[in-house]
C-alpha cells in the first residue's frame, strides 16, 4: 500500500520514464529538504549543491529500487546521507580545518544556544573538519550508533567516538565564538 500521495507516486512514475519535466519538478519539490541534509555534510553551499545533485542523480537513476510502501522522504534522505558519506571518502584529502584555539576552554550555555539561529548552527557545523562533521551528523542528527558509523565510514569504533567528542567540543567552541560575535554586534 503506497504511503505517498497519488500525485507524488504519479510524479515518480513519470521520472522513472525519464521525463525531464517531471524530474525537474521532483527536484524542485524536494530541493529544500535535501539541501537541509546536504548543507550539514558540506563545507559550503556549493559543495552542498554538488552532493545534492549527485544524490538526485542516484535517485533518478535508481527510482526502480524505491519501495513505494515506505516514505519517499526517508528513502531520499538515506540516499543523500550515503552520497555525502561517499563524497567525504572521495574528497577526504581536501579537508580543511578552522582554527578555534582562541576560544578554547570556553563553552556555550543553553540559553545562548537557543538564541542562535538554525542557519548559524548549520554554518557552525560546516566549519567542522569533514571527518568530525561526518561522525557528528551521523551520530547526533541521524541517530546511528558508533558501530554503524564505523561500518559506513570505514573507521574504527574508537575513532568514531573520538571524532564525535572532538566534534562536539569544536562545535561548542565555534558556537561560543558566534555567541561572542553576536554579543559584540548587539552591544
Amino acid at each position: 500500500m503506497p504511503v505517498e500521495s497519488k500525485e507524488l507516486i504519479s510524479l515518480l512514475k513519470q521520472c522513472e520514464k525519464k521525463d525531464r519535466k517531471s524530474q525537474d519538478e521532483l527536484y524542485k519539490q524536494f530541493y529544500g529538504y535535501s539541501m537541509g541534509v546536504c548543507l550539514r555534510y558540506s563545507n559550503d553551499r556549493n559543495e552542498a549543491i554538488e552532493i545534492l545533485n549527485l544524490g538526485f542523480f542516484k535517485v533518478l537513476t535508481q527510482l526502480n529500487k524505491y519501495n513505494k510502501e515506505l516514505s519517499f522522504k526517508g528513502w531520499l534522505r538515506r540516499i543523500m546521507i550515503n552520497t555525502a558519506i561517499d563524497y567525504y571518502r572521495r574528497n577526504v584529502k581536501h579537508q580543511h580545518f578552522v582554527d578555534v584555539s582562541y576560544a578554547k576552554d570556553e563553552s556555550v550555555n543553553f540559553d545562548a544556544l537557543d538564541q542562535i539561529s538554525e542557519k548559524e548552527i548549520l554554518e557552525a557545523i560546516q566549519l567542522l573538519p569533514p571527518s568530525y562533521k561526518l561522525v557528528f551528523n551521523l551520530f547526533v542528527i541521524e541517530g546511528f550508533k558508533h558501530e554503524e558509523i564505523s561500518e559506513k565510514v570505514g573507521i574504527s569504533v574508537g575513532t568514531s567516538k573520538s571524532n564525535l567528542a572532538v566534534a562536539r567540543n569544536k562545535l561548542q567552541k565555534i558556537l561560543k565564538v558566534i555567541e561572542i560575535e553576536r554579543f559584540r554586534n548587539h552591544g
Binding site: Y31, I49, L54, F57, K58, T61, R90, L122, V140, I141
Partner: protein
C-alpha cells in the same frame, strides 16, 4: 555542558532543516550528470553475438539459394517444369501475348527451321507459304507459339534460316547456338506454313532431349523485345561492417528505397535513397587524434574512448550488369558512387568514471555531443556482386555482397571509412 542535552538542542534545531532558498542554477548540475552518464543498453552485452548470428543467417540464406539453384538437375527439367519456368518470364510473355491476337490473323509467310544441326545433310522441308508479312513478324509468330504452347524443350537445337540474311535473326540464332554458322546461301531450307511448322516442331520436340532453354537465348529474346527504358522499384536492407581508418567499426543495418532504370536486360542504372548508420570506436586516442574531434569536455578528465555514431542518407548511383546463369537467375556486378548527406553525428567521449563520485556500478561516464547540421560529402566508391532471382508477377529478389570506400574524408572529424557487407533487395518491375 551536558553532551546529551547539547546533542538534542542541535538535532532539534537543524535535524529537519529545510533550506528556504532555491538556487535556480543548481539544477543545471543535475542536468549535466543526467546527460553525461547514461545506462549501458542491454543489447551492448549481446552486440557481437547478434552481429555474428545475423551475418551467419544472411550468408546461410545466400548460400542456400545458390546451392538450390545449382543443385537442380537441368536434365530432369521436364516439359511441365519448363512451363513453370516460362511462366516466370511474365514480362516477356505478356509482351508477346499482346501480339497474339494480331498475329493469329497473320498468314505466315516463311519460317526457316530445322530440327537437326546437320541441316545440310538432313534438312526438313516445308511448303513455302505465300509472301505478305515481314520476316520479323514471322519469327514473332513462331515465338508466340512457343510461349503459348510452352511445350518446348531445347530451342537451341532449332535453327532459323533464310536465303537472305536477317541481321537481327542472325544475332538471335548466334546466341542460341554458337556452333551455328549462319550462311543463308548455303542453308536454304524449309518454308513451312505456320501450322505445319508447329506440328513438325512438336514431333521434333518429342525426339529431342528435354532441357532448359539456354539462358543466352532467353537474354536474346528479352533484348529482342525490349522497348525503351524499363523501370524497376525496389526496397533494400543491408548490414554493413564499417572499418574506419582508425579504431574499430561496428556492423549496422541500413535501409533504402531504390529505383533502377533498365537500359537493356543486361544493363541497368540503380539509384535511390538509403538511410544508413556508421559507427566506430577509438580506444585511448592520442592528442593528435583528439584534435579533430569536437567539443571535448576537459573538465571530465582524459578521454579514454571515442564512439562516433553517424546517421546519413546515401544516394547511390550504380551501374549494374546482369549475366544470366539460367532461366530466372542472374549474376550481377555493380560499380558506382554514393554521395553522402550526413544528417547528424553523435560523438560520445568516454571519461574515467571517477570524474563523477559515486557513479553506480552499472553506469559509465560518457560525454555526448551531437552535431546535427546536415552536410554533403563526396561519399563512397561502390562495388558489388550478387544474385538476382526472378519471382512471379515481375518481381525479383537480389542478394549480394558489397564494398564501399570513402573517396574523401567524411564527417565533422574528417575520417576515412570503408565498409563491406551483405544486402538484400526486393524489386517490382513497373515497366
Amino acid at each position: 555542558m551536558d553532551d546529551k542535552r547539547f546533542d538534542d538542542v542541535i538535532k532539534n534545531k537543524v535535524g529537519e532543516y529545510v533550506d528556504p532558498n532555491f538556487d535556480e542554477g543548481a539544477i543545471g548540475g543535475l542536468h549535466q550528470y543526467l546527460s553525461t552518464a547514461q545506462p549501458i543498453p542491454w543489447y551492448v552485452l549481446y552486440r557481437s553475438p547478434l552481429i555474428i548470428a545475423g551475418t551467419l543467417a544472411l550468408f546461410t540464406l545466400f548460400n542456400w539459394m545458390i546451392i538450390r539453384d545449382y543443385a537442380s538437375d537441368n536434365n530432369d527439367l521436364n516439359t511441365t517444369s519448363f512451363n513453370e519456368e516460362m511462366g516466370k518470364h511474365q514480362g516477356l510473355i505478356s509482351d508477346l501475348r499482346e501480339e497474339v491476337d494480331r498475329l493469329k490473323d497473320v498468314k505466315v509467310d516463311t519460317v526457316f527451321i530445322s530440327s537437326d544441326r546437320n541441316v545440310q545433310s538432313n534438312p526438313i522441308s516445308f511448303e513455302k507459304a505465300s509472301a505478305g508479312v515481314s520476316e520479323e513478324e514471322i519469327i514473332r509468330a513462331f515465338l508466340v507459339k512457343i510461349s503459348e504452347g510452352g511445350s518446348i524443350g531445347r530451342i537451341g537445337d532449332f535453327y532459323f534460316y533464310h536465303e537472305d540474311e536477317l541481321p537481327s535473326l542472325k544475332e538471335f540464332l548466334a546466341l542460341g547456338n554458337k556452333d551455328t554458322e549462319l550462311d543463308g546461301s548455303s542453308l536454304a531450307m524449309a518454308y513451312p506454313q505456320q501450322d505445319t511448322l508447329w506440328k513438325e516442331f512438336q514431333v521434333e520436340q518429342k525426339k529431342a532431349d528435354s532441357g532448359a532453354m539456354p539462358v543466352l537465348v532467353i537474354r536474346g529474346l528479352e533484348k529482342h523485345y525490349s522497348k525503351g527504358i524499363g523501370l524497376k522499384l525496389g526496397i533494400e536492407a543491408e548490414i554493413a561492417a564499417n572499418k574506419p581508418d582508425l579504431g574499430s567499426g561496428e556492423a549496422l543495418p541500413g535501409f533504402g528505397l531504390l529505383t533502377e532504370l533498365v537500359f537493356s536486360p543486361s544493363l541497368g542504372l540503380e539509384t535511390g535513397l538509403k538511410f544508413k548508420n556508421r559507427s566506430y570506436t577509438i580506444s585511448d586516442p592520442s592528442v593528435d587524434v583528439l584534435s579533430s574531434y569536437p567539443d571535448i569536455n576537459d573538465r571530465l578528465g582524459e578521454v579514454q574512448s571515442i564512439e562516433v555514431d553517424s546517421r546519413l542518407l546515401e544516394i547511390p548511383v550504380n551501374l549494374k550488369y546482369y549475366y544470366p546463369i539460367r532461366q530466372g537467375r542472374e549474376v550481377y556486378f555493380g560499380l558506382g558512387l554514393s554521395p553522402n548527406l550526413y544528417l547528424s553525428q553523435v560523438f560520445e567521449y568516454g571519461h574515467p568514471s571517477e570524474a563523477i563520485p559515486d557513479l553506480p556500478a552499472d553506469f559509465s561516464l560518457n560525454n555526448t555531443v551531437e552535431k546535427g547540421k546536415p552536410k554533403f560529402y563526396l561519399g563512397t566508391f561502390n562495388a558489388g556482386t550478387g544474385m538476382s532471382f526472378d519471382l512471379r508477377n515481375k518481381r525479383a529478389v537480389q542478394i549480394g555482397l558489397f564494398y564501399q570506400k570513402t573517396l574523401k574524408d567524411v564527417g565533422v572529424e574528417e575520417r576515412g571509412m570503408s565498409s563491406y557487407g551483405l544486402k538484400a533487395s526486393y524489386w517490382w518491375r513497373l515497366r
